[in-house]
Every structure is written in C-alpha cells, then in structure tokens.
Assembly symmetry: D2
Homo-oligomer: 382 residues x 4
C-alpha cells in the first residue's frame, strides 16, 4: 500500500522509526510527505528518501488536496501522523474528511473531548483510524492477553503496571533537548507531561492485557524538577470494572532507568509478568508449581496463534522494539487492505483505545488536584 | 550470653529460626524456656534442646520469677519473645519489669497505643529492647542506607517498596494452616492482617534505607479471599517528611510469588535497587554511566565498614535470610554485652522502629476506611 | 543500491531474513532474483515481492548474464547468495567474474581450499566480497572488541565461547525438516555439520572480539543422534597466537537450549561477557570494583563511536537479531557505495574471516579423527 | 555429639566456617582442639570458644591420645580436620587408628596413592570418614541428581561444568596472602594448585549430579601468573563411563569472577542447569515446553524428599553456602549417631569421592604434561 507522512523531518526521532518499521514487512511504500513546516527541511527529508519532488508538500492541507486529486492507483492510501501531540487531531480529521485512512502516533489527542470529536469523524467517514501503541505489538503481550482471557491464572485480583524512565531527571528542556521541550510544554502536550507521554502506555497496556477497564483512580501527580511546567512523576491507585485493584506508576525522573515498562497480573490461581526490556519472555507463576517462562519464537507451538504470528524468527533470535512496532503497522495494513470489509484483531490500535487513555489522564490529573479520594473515569463509547 | 525463650514450641516456625540464628555466632546460650502454654509441648521442646528440666517453665510469668531468683551468673540475661502478635507487649513489659532485656519478634505490638505504652516501660526500666526486623540485617540493605545517607544518589524523590507473597491466595486458614490462622484472626493480629504481618516489613525497610519518615498515606486496603476477616492486600501512596513520594504494596494474594520484598530508591542523581530474593547484590544506576552491581562479601573493599562486617564469607558464597537474621541477633547481643554503656548502631531494632510501624498500619487502615485522601501518621517520639 | 538474490525461494528461512534486513536501512532495492531451481517457485517468490517478471531468472548463470547486459543504471549492483552451503563458492565466483560484488551468507565455502580459491578470484577481480556473520553486527560485540583492543581488561589469558542449540536433539532430518536435512547432508555441508553451521559463528566471534587468532585446537567432535551423518556436537580446547587459551563448545543436541551463543574474555585486569540472547548488555568485571553493565543505545555516550552508530534507538528499546543483521548489510553497502575507494571497517565480513573459519573447522575435524593432541590451523593470508 | 578440631586457629578461614556450620543444627558440641602448631594461638582460639583449657592440645597426636584416655561419655566422638592439604591424610589415619571417626575438609589427600592408603585404613578400622564437599549439600544439587537418576531429562549426552574464580589473577602469594600461599606451594598442595583446590569441586559435582564417572580426560593445564609454582587454570575435555562428553573448566585467573561454580547437564530429552551463586533455583529446559525453574523451600511439594529435607525455610527466604555446608555436617552426624549400623545417603562425602577426585587431578596433570590425547583415570574401588 502507498502512504504519506505528516511530520518526521530532519531531527525528528519517531518519524524515522515509523519509516523504518513501515519498510520491514514489505507491504508499504512511502510516496509523499509534508515532513516539516520548514519546507527546505521537507525537501531535504524527501530527497534523502528518494521521493518524487512534486510529492513533497508545503503543508498537510496541501498534501491532502493534491493527493486526493491524483489517480486512485497513484495516490497515497493512508496518512501517517508523527507530529507533536497537539496537532494529531486536526490533521487526522482533515485526512479522514479528505477520504484517507489514518495511522497516528500516540496519544490520539490532548484530551478526552478531542478524542470524542475525532471518534465522531471516524464514524461519519467510515474510514480506518489506527494508533501506534507500540508495546501492544510485542508477541508476549499478545500471549499474556490471550492467557488471561483464557483463564490461565483465574479471575484477576491485583495488577501492577509501571513505567519508570530517567531521562527527564534534570531540566533537559532548559538545555535545548528538543524531545524534552515539546513534551514539557503545555501548549503542545496539554494538561499532562509524563502522564500523557508514558502514563498512557501504561494504562493502555493494563487494559489491553487484562481485559479490564480502569473504573476509578486515586492519584499523586507531581513535578520534581524545578521549573518544569508539567508533571514528571505519577503514582496512582486504581480499581477496575471487574473488581481488580492495583498500582500504576509512570515517572520520568527515575534517574538511571531506561525504558522500564512492565506489567504483573495476579489472578486467583497464578500470575503473569512481562517486562519490555526483556520482551521475549513471559513469566507464569502458579502457587504449587515451578516458575514457567514462556518464550517468543516462530517455533514455539505452545504460544497462541496470534502471538506466534507476531514473531519473525525462531526462539533465541531476539526481537525487539522495532519488530513490535512493525507488528502494529502490519495489523493496520492488513485491515486497510481488506477495507471496507474490516477484519477483527483491530482492538488494540483503535480510537477507543486512544479515548480511554485520555479519560485516564484526565481523571488522574483531576484527582491529584482535588482533595477527593477516588475519581471515576469518564465514559468512552466502545 | 544466656537467654530464655517464650513461645517456639513444637510446630512453631519462627521460634526454631530464632534458636538457629542464635547459635550461629557462638555468643549465646539458650538456658530456659516457656515454649508453650501446653506444658507437655514445652517439656518435649526443651528436652529436644537438651535444656535442664527445672528450667522448662509452665508460663512466662513463672519463668520470669524463677529466673530472677537464680544467682546472677546462672540466670538468663535476656528474653526472646516468639509468641503470636497479641502477646508481645504483655510479655515484654513483664520481662522488663522483672529486670530482663527483651528481644522480640516483630511486630512490637498490635497498635500504636500498645507500642507507646511499651516504650514508656522501656524508658522507665532503662533496659534494652530489640525487635527482629530480619531484613534490616542484610549487608546490602545496610550498604544502601549508607549510600543514601552519603549522598551517592542525591536527595531522594521517589521510593518504591513492595512485598508480594502468594501463600494466602486461597483460604488457608479454613484448611487448618496454623500460620495462616493466627495471622488472619483479629483477636491475635488486631486491626490488620497483611499490613501488620508484612506491610510493616516494607514500611520499616523504607524508613531505614531512606532515612526518611513516612508523613502521610493514601491507602486502598482490602481482602480478596472470601471469608477472610482481615486484609490480605494493600496498595498505598505515601509522602515523606523530606519530600519524597512513592508507592508501597503489601499483598499475600499474589499467587505464585514467594517472598518478594524489594525496594527502589530514586534520587536526583541515581538510584539504588535491592531485592530480598537476590540479597547479595545492590544495583546502582546513574543517568550517564553503566549499571553498577555492588556485591556482598568480606573481600569487598568498596563496601562500607558496617556492611562488610555483616558478611561472613568472601563474595560468591551466597549468604541469606538466616545470616541476616543472625546479624540482628549479633547487634542486640553486642549492645546487651556492653549495657548499660549502650553503644550506637542500635537504631534498626528499637521500639521506635516498632512504634513507627504501628503508626503506619493505623494510618493506612484508617485512611482506607475513610473517604479522606491523605492521612497523617501519628507522632512517635524517637 | 540495487541487488539481486540467488536462493531464498518459498520455504527458505534465511532468504526471507536477508530481504527483511535489506529493507531496514532504506538504501537497498531488490531488483532481480534466481530464487529457486524450481522456476515456478522463483516466479511466485518474485511476484510476491512485486519484482518485474523479466528479472526473475531460471538460474543464477542466466541472471548474471542478463543483468550484465542491462544498462548500468538499471542492472543490479551486487548479488546476495542465500543458497545451501555447497553452492556458495561457485555462485560467488561466477558473480565476481561477471563483474558483480558479492554478499554471501555464511559459511563462505565448504572447506579451506574452496575459500582460498574464492579469495584468489576476489583479488583478481578487485571486487567486494562480504560474508553475513550476523552476530558481529551487534553493537555490544563491537563494543567488546573495542574495549579489548583498548586494553580495558589487559592482555587476554582465557577465552570461553559456546554455542549451544537444542533443535537437532532428535533426528529432525528423518522427519522431513528441510533446515535439518541439508545441514546434516555431507553433500551439501561438506566435512562438518554442527561445526560448520554454528561452530564457525563461535570461532569467528572469538577471533573478532579478541583480536587473537586461533593457533591450534584439540577437539572432541561427535554425533549423538543415531543415523546422523555429520557431527552434532563439538568440545574444543584452543590456544591463540597471542598466548590465550580456552574452550569452544558448539552443539545442536543441547535439548532445551535456543540459540545460546556467548563469549567470555578474561584479561589480566578484568573480564567481558556477552550473551546473544541478552544482546544489549555487555558485562565488565574487575577484581576490585562493582560489576559494570554497559548498555546499547544511541544515548550512551560511554560507548565507542562504532558501537553507538550500530544502534537505532535510545537504551531500553530492545534491538535484536534483525538489527544486528541489518548492520552487516549496512557495512557492506557503505563499502560498495564508495567502491573502488574501499573504506575501512570491513574486516568482520571479509573472505579472510570466512577462510579462517574453514581452517578452524578443518583443524577441528582432523584433530578429532586423529590421535594427536594439538592440530595447528592452516594459514590464511590476510 | 562431641567433636574435636585439628587446625582452624586464628587467621584461618575454613576452620571458622566449620565451627559456624557445626553449630547450626544444634546436634554438635566442640569439646577440644589442636588449633595450631603455635600453642599460644591454639590457646587463644580455644579460650575465645570457651573451651576448657585442659582440652586445648599442643598437637593432634597429643589430642588423640589424651581424648582416647577420657571416659567415653566425655571424650570427643569424632575429629574435624581443617589443616592445609598435605596433612589431611596423616591426621586422618592417626585419628582412625586411635578409634575416632573423621570429618575432613577437602581434598581428602594430595594424590591417589595417599587416598587409597587412607581408604585402607578406613576399611581396617571400620570407622566413619566424611569429606566436606560443601557444594553437594545444596538442596537443588540434590534435586538435580534425583531428577537425572529419575530419567527426567533422559540419558545424558553432554555435561558442562565450570568453576571460574578471579582471586589469583595476580601474584597474591607474593603479597603475603596466606590463603594464596599454601594453595600455590607444591609442598603443601602437591602436584596441582587450581585443579586440586577447585577442579576437584567441579569433578565431584559432575560425578555426583550425573551419576556418571569420568573415564578419560584431555587437559590443557597451565599457570598464567609469572612466578607461580602450580597451575592456576585448566581446560579439560572428558568422556564418561556411560557415554557422555563435555568440558570442565577450573580457573583462578578469571579476573572479576567470584565463585562461579556451575553445572549444565544435557540429556536426550531436556537439560538441567544449576549455578552456585544463585543456588536456590534449578533450571529445567525441555525442547517443546516453557523453561521451568524449580525452587528450593520447605513448602515445595514438587521437590524430592531429600532435597526438601535439606531446606530450612519456605521458598523465598534465601539459603546459601553456610546452610549447604551445614547439610554436609548433618549428613555425617546422622551417620555417626547411628554407627555402626551405618545408614544410606552417605555417598556424597565418602573417601571414594575423595579418591575419585584425586584420580581426576592426576589424570589431568599427566595428560597435560604428555603429548597423548586421552588419559584414562585410575581405578578407585567403590
């Protein structure tokens, strides 16, 4: 399939990653881009990618219009959005209205109202919208979800999710770190910093793997680094719709930590543990049995079909972040290729997922600023 | 030194452990006991230990009186208390009043009022009182405390302590498990089950290693197993007197977990991590350096003196729970041997430690039962 | 750059991997193929890859001739060889003689004579020849080599390399496993099975990381599975040209093992350890210091330039086998793009590397079959 | 039971360890000692242990004579030998001839001839002789032996044992390190240094856990540190009486390593792995199943009876080196207490074990000095 990209010019991190993973499965061709509001940057980026110059656009609006005017067999078939957070919704809406499917980097929006508004546009246009929550693309996350749903550890009681990072332990934004700057700028990131940036990964992983929905939260959200405008640390108690409880931690001031997303799920009969930095293992513990470590790999007959299909190599050939990301792309492309007969398996990258993440962020921020103990999450139609 | 024991008859777990660790450092001699209210059990226990029959007592009151009447060079010099929780304070008070130092299993008491009352008796008698918080005896916990105090990771911002166990995942108390029965019985354990049994280990480790005091808590305390009278699971947010925040989890329904006490301390410049099930390693992470793993061992010159002195063998010869426990004994005995010129280094096993643990439990239980967000811990004189 | 592929039709494992990693860095375009001697297979494979049908060739000889006849700006610029081992050399020679650079899957050849003969063709044509020893593409392998060369652990004394796999623990070749069949067939794999297949990975990693050359070996090579024609297990003592000694183990009957290649290098002042299944960590141990774990990542300033450049993401985003493989491709392409001004940094994928591996296999097999204790490796010009 | 000790005066390492572990299980009483040839040292050591001064002897010969003259209910019942290696046999023989059981630190002797001679004395006297091969006392080593014998992984094919240490990486003996001095002195350690000191631990663990006997070896034994009189490094290929093959590495110049004894056993159907520095876990891998980690603990019903009985605490309370050592003592004491009706379960600490270790050392040294490839181990009657 052919796609265009908004954002991802020189100096951007995530745009380059998107292009890399889009190449991995050989189904996709980047045909156009509005890579930067700085057109010279856009041109340099596009040339380095060997794109035709007439398809390097000055703005996303121009791109949408011009591409729509091309013959069907030439024009892009979907748009990838890798711009700063505050522009995700306007670009997505414009693309949908112009008739293009959308694959957006997370978060879907800056807040729940935006997400709902976007959800309405998606429903009106009947087009596809996908969200790249990378970590849901790991085979062993898929396996964990499968085993929980399958009753392998019994009904869940306790869930522990955490996402410690250390890279914002000091005032990076004041040192000119571009990644740090927009993430800590309320204009570009909205009501939350760390919570929006990585807290949403944690809440999304929690809901995906458990099959539960967070019902209410009790949060202590703060900013430790002097001068920082948005939160860099959050500790949250939660309760789910199906009676589980637990803690969710998201922090970017955990000095020395790299990218320590993890989840532990405790059911009545056992538990599952997955750690993003050791992603090819899934630990199963039962009360009266040896610890069991399930391993990713195309040769592992004991994995569920969906997990095994998300592997590319036999066990022992480590796959990682890029492969997980590529699985998200593959999932979107499979659905786009068969559109409008949309297939199943699309739950993990939908606008509902994005909306739920926003409801989580809003409830956590509101709770932390109030004196109330528990704050319920707003409804998101699913 | 000579000591007597109250509790620890046949079928008891912790009494046998106390006797084992008391033997390890060759300074101690068990000379008498009131091992059980069932005198036949007491006699069998004492005989198996080769104690003189005339020093196997029918009750602790008899033991205290008879021993006090013996010549100084024969009578026991301190009492070890290993009875169920609700009897710790009355026995400790009686022993102190009869002129004996006391070494008590944890918790010190069932609640803060009891702890304060005991604290008063200790002050009045001027005798020694020690509390066997085993986990504070590990060399690498001592090293962590030293490094934090020394500024190795800068002022603390976030602390994460957890203590997951799985052994109460089902209704063990209904199956006749003696260890489970008294721990879940409000008469013997007071206002809390899991919080008192292992939550106090977590809070004590937190305060010991960090040098901070928990100022206020926000708790979600519950019981998952049907029919259980006391809590078996607690998730807690806390803030400390010096501005750190974090989460404390104590749970006995984490099916598949063994004894997973751990602590992570995040300062402005780095972090420390210690896990009880891998106790001879202490992980130091700094933002711009390789991960560093400090290792226990008598040959490790980079350890602080107190940590190295708590080791018995060169690195690579694993030491564990019993050795840590024995270190607590050794600390008490060193102090008792030099009494009344009490030495330093006694902080970790004092009644203040016990009182702070009670203040923590009471605040957590009260907060969880109320609608208020934060509950301050009651003062404990130090 | 444009390339063609020989081998890699439907059902092949490594051809698909080559195509995947060739796409990852966006420099390469697959333009033609002789994917199978079964032309229908070749056509299906090429169509699935959206190749032009007139560039799907019936044989590699046809491909070489036809492509050579195309205009320079259209024709392929190098050939990738992913056929069974016994055809590597004839195809490579033909390609070189037709004027194409060659990138070959390992091993370079079936024996040392073949490798030398190929080496001569390479010298005569002056073209580039690369060998995809994947494991040398891992950033932390590059870092290990750098640190050893830099004296970080002093002159090497002991080296331990091992490569345990379990997948040939039973007679897979008798069950129709295609991967197993050609690897255990003397016609296709020559004088050795396991030694050629993975022993060469071990010896190559050893020589690359250490900078030493294996001087002599003492080997115990055997086949445990009844009916297997070639070795499936080898234990080898070795001594290097610079005075180090150690053990090399390669085995495919280590039931339960996945792909456990690892190396440990012991110098006078410290040691380094790397494990392929946890590839983003490199462990440094010194006698009087904490254990140090270096981590891969674009943000790790303490890595050497070459290692850091081999990373795509910040630390904590696991990279794996495919990324390492892609690094080998990138290295070849960098050199091919600047040919004939060949750059440095090409050592790890040269014919010399392939020749040394053959000398190792031949010496090990000869030694194991003889009664002599030590067998010297044949010279390979470098 | 009552015992006396030869060796273990001030400054000794292993003597103190023996006394500590002897106390752990409450069955033993140290009643006398010839702790040092320096009688002042002996007196100070004995006084610190609160021994009666008339039982602190000037020499072991005096101790044996005097103790034999005491009434049966007072005199020691066995002798513990913790002197340097070259004196083990003469002391053991004298003790046996005087009518005392013997528990000796390893190695049993300096060579096979000595071991055989000692074996004869044991047979003639009919008394008990035990050898403290500590590592055989770990519960998960016992479990591994049980599972191999039980066929859990099928007939063994490959065994890998290694024992890397780093403490002799430099010339410690020249710096006055007492532990280093006698271990590298041919007069006190005989024909081998590292091989005798730790190679025997490796070979003994290999034979114990596998149930195989080493039939022949091919060895590369050397000394890396200039000026060292005995070997500090050995790489060995071996074949067993039941057809398994593998490698055994023992080295004391692995800079940075602590005490890394480990064993991996590969059978036709699976494998077992145990590592001394993580002793409470035993890893079981099967070709088509998740990795399984068995854990030590009194509460682990899946362990064999003998392994579980070797634990003192529930899983998750780490036990280590001292507890394993104490299990060896307990085994000896159980047998001594029921002597002359000797019980089973004594295999792992017998003179046969010691003799086999000597046969291994002699064969390895002889092979390494010769040009022959394989050297058979001498017979040891069992």
């Amino acid at each position: 399939m052919r796609f265009g990209m908004v954002g991802g010019g020189e100096g951007a991190f995530i745009g380059e990653i998107h292009r890399l993973v889009a190449r991995m499965d050989n189904e996709l061709q980047l045909v156009c881009g509005a890579f930067s509001r700085d057109h010279a940057n856009c041109l340099r980026t596009g040339q380095a990618l060997a794109l035709s110059e007439d398809r390097l656009y000055a703005s996303y609006t121009e791109m949408l219009q011009q591409e729509a005017a091309l013959p069907a067999e030439q024009r892009m078939q979907f748009v990838v959005i890798v711009t700063p957070n505050h522009t995700h919704v306007p670009i997505a809406k414009a693309a949908l209205k112009q008739g293009f499917h959308v694959l957006s980097d997370k978060p879907a929006s800056l807040n729940l109202a935006e997400a709902k508004s976007l959800q309405q546009t998606i429903q009106e246009t009947g087009l596809l919208y996908g969200l790249t929550h990378t970590y849901l693309g790991y085979p062993m996350v898929i396996q964990a979800k499968h085993m929980v749903a399958d009753g392998a550890i019994g009904p869940l009681r306790r869930i522990m999710v955490e996402y410690p990072q250390g890279w914002l332990s000091s005032n990076e934004e004041a040192k000119g770190n571009k990644q740090a700057s927009w993430r800590t700028d309320p204009e570009k990131s909205g009501i939350a910093g760390c919570l929006l940036d990585i807290g949403t990964h944690a809440s999304t992983l929690l809901e995906y793997a458990s099959g539960h929905r967070i019902k209410e939260v009790c949060a202590d959200v703060t900013s430790f680094v002097p001068g920082r405008a948005l939160d860099d640390d959050a500790s949250i108690l939660f309760r789910t719709d199906k009676g589980a409880r637990g803690t969710l931690v998201a922090s970017q001031i955990c000095a020395g930590e790299e990218n320590g997303l993890s989840i532990r799920l405790y059911g009545e009969e056992g538990s599952l543990e997955w750690r993003q930095m050791d992603p090819n293992s899934l630990i199963l513990k039962k009360q009266d049995a040896p610890v069991s470590i399930l391993r990713a790999g195309t040769d592992k007959a004991y994995l569920c079909d969906e997990a095994r299909a998300a592997c590319r190599t036999p066990a022992g050939h480590p796959e990682g972040y890029l492969e997980a990301f590529s699985n998200i792309y593959a999932d979107f492309v499979r659905n786009a290729a068969s559109w409008p007969e949309k297939t199943n398996g699309f739950e993990r990258i939908s606008i509902n997922t994005g909306g739920r993440a926003m409801a989580f962020v809003e409830a956590a921020v509101a709770n932390s600023q109030s004196g109330e103990k528990w704050t319920a999450l707003m409804d998101v139609a699913e």
